[in-house]
């Protein structure tokens, strides 16, 4: 490390506004390893102080103590104690407190002091606290805690200036002599003693209003109502899925025609031949057919981030706890499962907040059944090709309704699997406790939300540019070589490697109504589900020429029966078509066993469900 730069770690209770402080400090200069659940994955960032000093910081998972009762909290403890392999010991620990709720954080501060790390307390959301009548004697507080205390308003421009100034001052001083680490896991008596001390400090230095936040109380009276609350939750989810389907449509159409125009440009500029085919059919139509779904992915992440920042997610967990408990799930599993609607990978990583191993494994096992955003391209394509866009009951879009049905099927099957797992594997165990803070409602900050959506959009595009692009090149290659012999009849693709592979798999998949083109598309679909759409695009483009590339939906409507289309839709509800998800399951469970179990059960479900769907649809005349 060079002399001027220092490394910070952000520590704090859940809901202390740690993540928005992190966003305010680093802006878009942050790196998230893989997709983040909310503050579950390791987030690092950097900023430069007005004096030109480089500061790097890491946002550690929220925790109430250093006991480390979940894998998530263990990370925080180990980083602070410098025991985490490969992670730098922070030069300064910033303990972030929600200024309207100091009790729990102050006990954490007293515990952190024992680690001997230089410490600074950040009273975040100070504006809200002041508005609510909290007043703090900062000097007395700093003296009582024995560490510097600074206020911040992460959501306001300049609200972190004082924090940055103090950090700079800290770094400029000769290295503060670090005290010895005297931290040991706390016993009950010590815990109580620390809480008493924290309460004494608050009594001496802080004036707290006695009234709870009246807005939160009023909203909760409705939102947490046993009946109205559940209806509101269902309504929120319903609006979310309608939005994903209808709001994104205009932008998607524009993107789609832009890519078609680009392909046409390449077609007109280049002489016909392999290069033209590679660029137009392989690269542009392949990658383009995936990038088109960017708007939908951004909308779903927008909803999840908004609900999280409003403080609604914890309420949803409260409402769902008993209902999910009936299916053998823990209330805390709601947040990972809801994240899985965006992508199963952050969902599975977010299960680290579940401290009980059995509850965590069940959640991991069913997370891939939640309809992730990578399925949206597949669903959208097939729905718009086969389901008429008319209204039912006067106001509900039929396509949106089918989409909702597919989501519901994913949720229903997940609950069913969980129930079976609990019943057969873990019948005799006590349910783990459910204890969760319900934070006061807060208005989400547009900038923080924008950064969150931007980070995810960037990751999606990055994936489109790497994994998906290379898969598309492979598919184009398989579909183009070997070239047909001179004077051969029929489309060139019939002579290719892709056709051979597809025909090889056909006997296995034919009972589901899948033709060989689908079989070919499913293989690269293992890299990511949305690639299957691109692969179908490429296969049919090479087979049918450029009109097919422009109108993949039209081609499907011509070539597939409705029964086949429904069967493919059902296949994608269940099929374990995502190598990265399987890899994450392996990593998070620490064994290949759970990965194999997941793959086998999902494959079996997909096969059986598609088989049934196809045959029922045919029996009903949808041939």
């Amino acid at each position: 490390m060079n002399a001027g730069s220092i490394h910070l770690a952000l520590v704090g209770a859940p809901n202390s506004g740690k993540t928005s402080l992190f966003n305010a400090l680093t802006g878009s200069r942050q790196k998230v390893a893989n997709y983040p659940g909310v503050t579950v994955e390791r987030k690092t960032g950097a900023f430069v102080t007005p004096t030109g000093r480089q500061i790097s910081l890491v946002d550690l998972p929220g925790t109430y103590s250093l006991r480390g009762r979940s894998p998530d909290e263990e990370i925080t403890r180990d980083v602070v104690l410098g025991k985490f392999p490969g992670e730098a010991l922070p030069d300064l620990v910033l303990c972030v407190a929600d200024s309207t709720n100091l009790r729990l954080t102050f006990r954490l501060v007293l515990e952190l002091k024992r680690t001997g790390r230089p410490l600074m307390v950040v009273l975040n959301m100070f504006d809200i606290a002041q508005r609510r009548g909290v007043s703090v004697d900062l000097e007395a507080l700093s003296a009582a805690l024995g560490v510097p205390v600074v206020t911040s308003v992460a959501v306001r421009k300049g609200g972190t200036a004082e924090l940055i100034r103090l950090t700079d001052e800290f770094a400029a001083r000769t290295r503060a002599a670090t005290a010895d680490n005297t931290w040991k896991p706390l016993g009950i008596a010590e815990l109580k003693a620390l809480q008493r001390e924290a309460d004494r400090i608050i009594r001496d230095t802080v004036k707290m209003p006695t009234k709870p936040d009246s807005l939160t109380t009023r909203v909760d009276a409705v939102v947490l109502h046993p009946v109205a609350g559940l209806l509101i939750l269902a309504l929120i989810l319903f609006v979310m899925f309608q939005a994903v389907f209808s709001w994104a449509q205009p932008v998607m159409e524009q993107l789609s025609s832009a890519f078609a125009a680009l392909g046409q440009l390449v077609h007109d500029t280049l002489p016909s031949g392999l290069l033209q085919s590679f660029l137009q059919d392989g690269v542009i139509s392949g990658v383009g057919s995936v990038i088109v779904f960017l708007p939908q992915i951004m909308i779903i992440f927008l909803f999840i981030l908004l609900l999280e920042d409003f403080g609604y997610m914890a309420r949803a967990a409260f409402l769902m706890d008993r209902i999910m408990g009936g299916a053998g799930l823990h209330g805390r599993a709601f947040i990972p499962l809801l994240s899985s609607f965006a992508c199963a990978i952050p969902g599975i990583m977010a299960t680290r907040v579940i401290d009980n191993r059995r509850d965590r494994l069940t959640t991991i096992l069913i997370a891939p059944l939640m309809t992730c955003s990578a399925r949206i391209p597949v669903y959208t394509l097939i729905i718009s090709a086969f389901i008429p866009a008319r209204d039912v009951w006067g106001w509900v879009n039929l396509q949106g309704l089918v989409m909702f049905g597919l989501y519901a099927a994913g949720i229903g099957s997940a609950l069913g699997v969980s129930f079976v797992v609990k019943f057969f594997m873990w019948r005799d165990y006590q349910p783990a406790p459910f204890m969760l803070e319900l934070p006061d409602y807060k208005l989400p900050r547009p900038r923080s939300i924008a950064i969150g959506v931007y980070t995810r959009a960037k990751m999606f595009l990055h994936r489109a540019g790497t994994t998906i692009l290379s898969m598309m090149v492979l598919i184009w290659f398989l579909a183009s070589f070997p070239q047909p012999p001179a004077g051969a009849e029929g489309p060139a693709i019939n002579y290719s490697l892709a056709a051979m592979i597809g025909h090889g798999l056909e006997p296995l998949l034919a009972p589901l109504g899948f033709n060989w083109q689908i079989a070919v598309a499913l293989i690269p679909g293992m890299a990511a589900r949305e690639v299957a759409v691109a692969a179908l695009g490429t296969v049919y483009a090479i087979e049918g020429g450029k009109e097919a590339a422009d109108q993949i939906g039209q081609v499907l409507a011509d070539k597939w029966s409705l029964a086949t289309a429904l069967s493919v839709l059902v296949w994608f509800i269940f099929a374990p078509q995502c190598a990265s998800t399987l890899a994450v399951i392996r990593r998070e469970t620490g064994s290949a066993r759970w990965m194999i179990i997941t793959f086998v059960y999902m494959f079996a479900l997909a096969y059986v469900a598609s088989l049934i769907t196809y045959n029922i649809a045919r029996a009903l005349g949808a041939a």
Partner: protein, 91 residues
């Protein structure tokens, strides 16, 4: 006060109805009531603010068997199941 021999005026938070408002007398964790060890459960409850003298009020309850409950503990709101709330002695 000896919590184990709680007298007739104290009772358990887990048995209290919605709208109940009172003060915590102490924690009395019985083994076997939860999948956590008694020490672990007690630590968690303390960390969430369930300490002697704290004011509690049951604000909300869930739809199924009036469980879980949302409890105001001094100035924060905690959601927990009645099973764990049985460890909290209130008056």
């Amino acid at each position: 006060m000896d919590i184990a021999a709680a007298n007739s005026t104290t009772f358990l938070l887990g048995n209290a109805p919605r709208g109940f408002s009172g003060t915590i007398q102490g924690l009395h964790v019985q083994a076997g009531g939860s999948s956590l060890s008694a020490i672990e459960l007690e630590s968690q409850l303390i960390e969430m603010g369930f300490v002697e003298g704290a004011r509690v009020e049951i604000l909300h309850e869930g739809a199924i068997r009036r469980d879980p409950i949302a409890v105001r503990v001094d100035n924060i709101t905690i959601a927990l199941r009645r099973r764990e709330a049985m460890a909290v002695v209130v008056i």
